[in-house]
Amino acid sequence: MTIMLSKKEKALIKEIWERLTPVAENIGSEALHRMFASYPGTKTYFSHLDISPGSSHLYSHGKKIVLAIAEGAKDISQLTVALAPLQTLHAYQLRIDPTNFKLLSHCMLVTLACYLGEEFTPVAHAAMDKFLSAFAAVLAEKYR
């Protein structure tokens, strides 16, 4: 699948996620918390976890997600290869309706805006939104 990201955009995305990797569990748990608060229907996928604010499950799961995104950002041209195991997981086990990926992506962008402030310029936002959309699309590739 082709993603319309320039070299500059890919470098920007890679740099941002590299910088956020040390705080992966903060970013990830906050994005999830935002999603559960704004879109309560998404909670239905997490009945097996304690997703109350500040819970260790929320931190560890948030960390997992951010680390996967950061890994994908290292070499965006290889997303399909990097995400192959997660594709299988989401298609056959988790079976999360892909519309939810958009909701989490939006909450991830809001979290980034809170963390990065002015640095999260319209150009950075555009690049990040494209990357997260591509990431979600690749994740859903094995669904049918």
Partner: protein
Amino acid sequence: MVKWSDFERSTIQDIFAKIDKNVVGPAALTRCLTVYPWTQRYFGGFGNLYNADAIAANPKVAAHGKVVLNSLENGVKNLDDLKNFYKDLSVLHSEKLQVDPDNFKLLTDCITVVVAGQLGKAFTPEVHAAFSKFLAVVVASLRKFFNSTNWLNCC
């Protein structure tokens, strides 16, 4: 009729008290036209929208961003009857401007990101949820008159 909790009501009012709508409005519309360039289709008369810098510097974009935020601020004063408050704007956007209503969400998502950038840590998940709810109700009110068939009788 939408029910607002005390927390939601005071949070939404508080956000509008804290933000500078003359900064947020232009920034949000600029962001929308940059992140979702296809939305530029509705702004043919705005002049130079060729790249991110041009959009950010465009005075018509800034002016229109302020118009949008002013309307939202007035909406906050009419929380208990947003449907009626936005009736005329809904008709305008459907009959005259003929905007695909899916675009409303793109703009409100950008408004949320800009407000988040402005408020930082203060834009907690709970504050964010209240704000999202307000914007969602505004969008639903704006969408209301798209379903009326009278204006389709053009063909």
